[in-house]
């Protein structure tokens, strides 16, 4: 996904001299091609995430579209107030880009696990969530945000994920179907959890529809509820704690938009990381096997 991200950004930077990439001293072996090709549209701000957001806000307030890249918690929690006051409140064209969603960097320890980032970023009312499951969805997310500029959060996993989706153009709260068989039950994933769902398409989820939700925000929640209310059961999966995560968001949308369906709402179950994930170290699959909880 991060390869798709940087390749598309290089392509877009050629067309748009106001596209800017900031990094906070991370992205070695990823961002150099952009830096070499468009040095005037790139800055490594150093190990200084608060300043990265502020500088990005300044650039964006002058008409730039800023992409600010780092790992999980660093460009999010570390500079939460800058994102809240300077980016989201001013509705600036600034995309926070993280790599290492969930426990992608499992062996690097808790500091590098992104398991509460969705909770922070989706609480920002003007910020659009972009959580692709593969390189194609990554491109679709970037194309959307460049055509519809504003505050956004692009949550990437790592590199090397296979392409499992097929839509090149996605709008907010579009379901991106990976498997559709007119089932009454749907598996709904966002981000890398789409790969987890896909890997079980012939086993656990054999008789289910499977879809990802790569672009979402509460502003578009009604659209999702209308679509999902055709199902009897929804199982939501994510690589995040339940507090403030994607599962919680889906629950909230059904509460907020209860006027969008008639009769009984679908039953909703969730698969998420329980709090025992905190402090675990190891390969992602090792950690997931220990902490994935379903209710």
């Amino acid at each position: 996904m991060r390869t798709a991200f940087i390749n598309l950004l290089i392509e877009e930077a050629k067309k748009n001299p106001l596209l800017f990439l900031l990094v906070a001293d991370l992205g070695w072996s990823v961002v150099e091609s952009f830096q070499e090709t468009y040095p005037n549209q790139f800055i490594n701000v150093g190990v200084a995430e608060q300043n990265m957001v502020g500088v990005g806000a300044g650039l964006a307030s002058e008409g730039c579209h800023v992409f600010a890249y780092s790992i999980g918690s660093f460009p999010t929690w570390r500079c939460a107030e800058q994102l809240r006051n300077d980016i989201d409140y001013h509705k600036l064209s600034y995309t926070t880009v993280t790599v290492g969603s969930g426990v992608a960097y499992g062996k690097l320890g808790y500091s590098h696990h992104a398991i509460q980032d969705i909770a922070l970023m989706r609480s920002l009312p003007n910020t659009l969530m972009l959580c692709p499951c593969d390189p194609l969805e990554t491109s679709a997310c970037i194309k959307y945000i460049l055509s519809n500029p504003g505050p956004s959060y692009l949550r990437l996993h790592k590199a090397g994920e296979p392409v499992i989706s097929s839509s090149e153009f996605i709008t907010p709260c579009d379901l991106n179907y990976l498997q559709s068989s007119n089932s009454s039950k749907i598996i709904l994933a966002t981000g890398i959890s789409g790969q987890d769902a896909w890997s079980q398409k012939d086993t656990t989820y054999k008789d289910c529809d499977i879809a990802t939700l790569p672009i979402w925000s509460s502003a578009h929640g009604a659209k999702l509820v209308i679509t999902l209310s055709n199902y009897k059961a929804i199982h939501v999966i994510e690589d995040h704690l339940i507090a403030g995560g994607f599962c919680s968001w889906v629950f909230e949308q059904f509460q907020i938009h209860s006027n969008c369906y008639q009769g009984q709402p679908p039953s909703i179950s969730c698969g998420y990381f329980d709090s025992s994930v905190v402090g675990l170290v190891g390969d992602p699959d090792y950690i997931k096997a220990l902490v994935k909880t379903s209710h």
Partner: protein
């Protein structure tokens, strides 16, 4: 519109005192502290377009110590950005003239309230101007207490590293913050040496001398490679004797009697 900076400073003090009294708001001493700096900036330094506040060639001015907003609102009204009678709405329900500087007010570049934000934002604007060969400059006004925030020092390093000679910061060094003096809270002296050691072009002036402020700000415009900072040595509550260097006027609002006394002093 051409205004004399001394008379503008007086009007800023008068409007600020009336606004905070009527709204029962805080931070009057902080506004009085920067009245002369704001007056010199708007009357003599900044390129502004009051009838077209978003004019692309305007200088950018950002108030990082957003709690002192009444001084800026007053200047904007005197300059013709907003009607003078709009100041009466300060602090009222639904007014865009809220108690911390708001970008919803014509002429205000950026909102602030939480401290330690706008030096970074200003650096971003200055960087944009440099890379796109713009002639406008970015000015940012900070408080000395605000420099407790570490984010400022990230921006101070960044601005020097990128040779942002089109960025001019003014520090309102009134030596007080909300509980007591800056010296007793978190000592930052010698401030000038700190900025200099970080690679900035440093001026130290009497922050109530319009001549010194004008000279320093004009000289800072000619910096060839480095960002500039004007350390403006000020008196918190300047112009109202019973507020000067009295820490409680960071939060207290004047009674009607105190307002009349204060106005007599300011207008004398």
């Amino acid at each position: 519109m051409s205004l004399n900076s001394l008379s503008l400073a007086t009007q800023i003090r008068v409007h600020s005192l009336r606004m905070v009294t009527e709204a029962k708001a805080s931070h009057i001493a902080s506004a009085l502290s920067i009245a002369d700096i704001i007056a010199v900036l708007y009357a003599s330094i900044l390129v502004t377009y009051p009838k077209n506040p978003a004019h692309p060639e305007r200088d950018r001015f950002l108030l990082s110590k957003g709690h002192a907003c009444t001084a800026v609102y007053a200047a904007l009204a005197e300059m013709g950005f907003i009607p003078l009678n709009q100041l009466d709405s300060y602090g009222t329900n639904g007014s865009c003239l809220m108690n911390h500087i708001s970008h919803h007010v014509p002429g205000v570049e950026f909102s602030a309230g939480a401290l330690g934000h706008l030096l970074s934002v200003s650096a971003g604007k200055a960087l944009f101007a440099k890379r796109h060969n713009k002639i406008w400059r970015t000015y940012v006004l900070l408080s000395d207490g605000e420099l407790n925030e570490g984010s400022n020092w990230e921006a101070i390093m960044f601005s020097a590293h990128h040779n942002l000679n089109n960025l001019i910061a003014v520090v309102d060094k009134n030596n007080y913050q909300s509980f007591t003096t800056t010296q007793d809270t978190l000592s930052m002296d010698p401030l000038e040496e700190k900025f200099a050691s970080f690679g900035w072009n440093v001026y130290s002036v009497d922050g109530h001398s319009h001549q010194e402020l004008t000279l320093a700000l004009s000289s800072a415009k000619t910096s060839q490679s480095r960002p500039s900072v004007i350390v403006a040595n000020t008196v918190k509550g300047k112009g109202v004797s019973f507020m000067e260097n009295m820490v409680e006027w960071h939060y207290k609002n004047p009674s009607l009697d105190q307002l009349q006394s204060a106005l007599r002093e300011v207008l004398s």
